[in-house]
């Protein structure tokens, strides 16, 4: 299906363009403006050129060290949760019952964590993991494990990761489940006999899997609320991710120049990664359409 060229379509897109430009471009201009200046309070600003950027990308300075450390921490975190959530989500999707009342029950329970406000997710795990009043912390400690996410780096990391798995695996599972539903039952049963079912399953979850990876990477790369509520970025700085560092500098210390420079670099990384995913996904989408078209012809 070819699209027709029609420049008037811009009128249809205009409302979206205006709304998003108002919330994205205007604020971003402020950020660019701040990133080149220094302030000593009193609304007095001084030109600082690329000074903040130099400092940010130089690991020997305080700012650069903090930024790079939080960046690596965040990338590591994203890698770990992707490695757990994607396979686990697919397994859960494959384990879903095909029909009956139990499907609705499973779907509702799966979707539940997705609709809990992020700070409440943090609160839930903060309570659940406490050795004195939380079930998890209490059980682990009575098993003889010295678990305490407030003082131990490793425990804090484990808590933040398990929390994220708890919170978001459902998204992967639901996306893949929706993909699997696209396999017609009749074909599905036939495929089981001739052994082609693995391939059919693989094809059906290919696109949802990629959407899930994209969404999970992006959201874990800008994670803020949940770890902030549970660990506050600690112990020390061990769970301080990029967004937490940024809010600390921007709203905590009110270091506008530094925060703005960090924001721009942060945004740039995200746009680059997003572009890579987007290109891969669009290409896969095209391939998929070709496959579907061929089927139609046959």
């Amino acid at each position: 299906m070819d699209k027709t060229i029609n420049q008037k379509a811009w009128f249809l897109v205009l409302p979206v363009f205006l709304v998003v430009a108002f919330s994205a471009v205007l604020p971003l201009m402020t950020v660019v403006n701040y990133s080149m200046q220094d302030t000593f309070g009193n609304n007095q600003f001084f030109w600082n050129g690329v000074g903040w950027f130099k400092e940010l990308l130089d690991p020997t300075t305080d700012l650069g060290g903090r930024f790079l450390a939080s960046l690596w921490r965040n990338l590591f975190f994203s890698a770990v949760i992707l490695a757990i959530e994607v396979p686990l989500g697919i397994v859960v999707a494959l384990s879903m019952p095909r029909q009956g009342f139990s499907v609705a029950v499973c779907l509702v329970i799966l979707a539940l964590p997705l609709l809990i406000p992020w700070n409440v997710v943090g609160t839930i795990w903060q309570i659940f993991g406490r050795p004195d009043i939380g079930l998890l912390g209490y059980v682990l400690n009575s098993l003889g494990l010295n678990y305490n996410y407030v003082s131990n780096d490793l425990d804090a990391w484990a808590t933040v990761i398990v929390m994220d798995v708890w919170h978001w695996t459902s998204l992967v599972a639901l996306l893949c489940y929706a993909g699997l539903k696209s396999i017609p039952d009749a074909y599905y049963q036939a495929a089981q006999i001739d052994g082609a079912s693995r391939w059919a399953v693989f094809k059906a979850i290919q696109l949802p899997k990629m959407i899930a990876v994209l969404l999970r990477f992006m959201d874990s790369f800008m994670i803020y609320t949940e770890p902030f509520v549970v660990t506050g970025g600690g112990p020390g700085n061990s769970t301080t991710f990029v967004s937490i560092e940024l809010v600390k500098i921007a709203l905590g210390q009110f270091d506008l120049g530094k925060a703005a420079a960090l924001s721009l670099v942060y945004n740039l990384i995200i746009i680059i990664v997003c572009w890579i995913f987007y290109t891969v996904m669009t290409n896969a989408g095209v391939e998929r359409r070709v496959v579907v078209d061929k089927k139609g012809v046959k």
């Binding site: 409302p15 979206v16 609709l115 409440v120 079912s197 399953v201 696109l207 809010v247 945004n267 746009i271």
Partner: protein, 268 residues
């Protein structure tokens, strides 16, 4: 699908893992603080609804819920109404810069809220919207509008182009075609997009907290009040948490039969 051994076991374990922390929160919300701190009990031995009563009788508490719902509803309406025509345009036409525009929109969905917190504060203070539901609703548009466009584009593409052409031949004007024919055809898609807008606006805290101070304070920000000089009021915190889960749970229950189709996002 039947090839995975013990699939019932895997699924049950996973669902239990999802429910256990939530159960613990509900459990705590019915306990007195004395019971919470002094003993480890698997269910409330002296059940009390005092925590809930405090929230329902104190205006500063329950207004938090109303404020949250206000900006979520405003945001969903704005997002869907601006996204509909754009989704149609992206699905049907090719125009100057369409692909770049689409990517630019999507990249805003991915932009970290932390980057925008401070500039938004300045922006909405400057135009006198600070501390109103409108500020939060507009701010949340940055991630919900692109998402709505993306989802609706998938659904519009599922409508055969012949339908448009026939309608135009029958003398429908564009606005009339849009309202009378297209919107009813993609009603389920609009429902899905609204569900996702509701979801992402309801769960967001950083922007909602930064853009409000007193009058429009969302419930998630009110919850921080449970920390006082006397220590944490755990029971109250748990009760407030449970109450924030309920709207989401209700929404899911009503859309349970559409979840599978919804998460296909009109594409899969």
């Amino acid at each position: 699908m039947h090839s995975i051994p013990g699939r019932r076991v895997i699924l049950s374990l996973f669902l239990a893992f999802l429910l256990l922390p939530i159960y613990w929160l509900v459990n705590m919300s019915f306990k007195t603080n004395g019971e919470i701190v002094s003993t480890m009990t698997l269910w409330p031995h002296q059940p009390t609804i005092a925590n809930y009563m405090r929230i329902f009788t104190d205006e500063s508490w329950y207004s938090g819920y109303i404020n949250s719902l206000k900006y979520v509803v405003i945001n969903t309406i704005i997002s869907i109404s601006v996204a509909l025509p754009a989704a149609y345009a992206f699905s049907r036409y090719r125009f100057l810069g369409d692909k770049h525009l689409f990517f630019w929109l999507l990249s805003n969905r991915m932009a970290p809220a932390a980057v925008y917190a401070l500039p938004f504060f300045n922006l909405y203070s400057a135009i006198n919207l600070f501390d109103t539901p409108w500020a939060v609703a507009l701010a949340h548009c940055i991630f919900n509008v692109p998402l709505a466009v993306w989802i609706l584009e998938g659904f519009v593409s599922g409508v055969p182009r012949e339908i448009d052409e026939t309608a135009f031949l029958d003398g429908y004007s564009f606005p009339r075609f849009f309202v009378r024919i297209l919107v009813p055809l993609i009603a389920s898609g609009i429902g899905v997009a609204a569900f996702f807008c509701f979801m992402f606006s309801w769960v967001e805290l950083l922007l909602a907290r930064t853009l409000t101070s007193v009058d429009a304070k969302p419930i998630s920000a009110v919850m921080t009040r449970t920390v006082s000089a006397a220590g944490m009021d755990w029971g109250l915190l748990a009760a407030a948490g449970v109450l924030t889960i309920i709207p989401g749970a209700l929404v899911i229950w009503f859309v349970r039969n559409y979840i599978a189709r919804g998460f296909a996002l009109g594409r899969v």
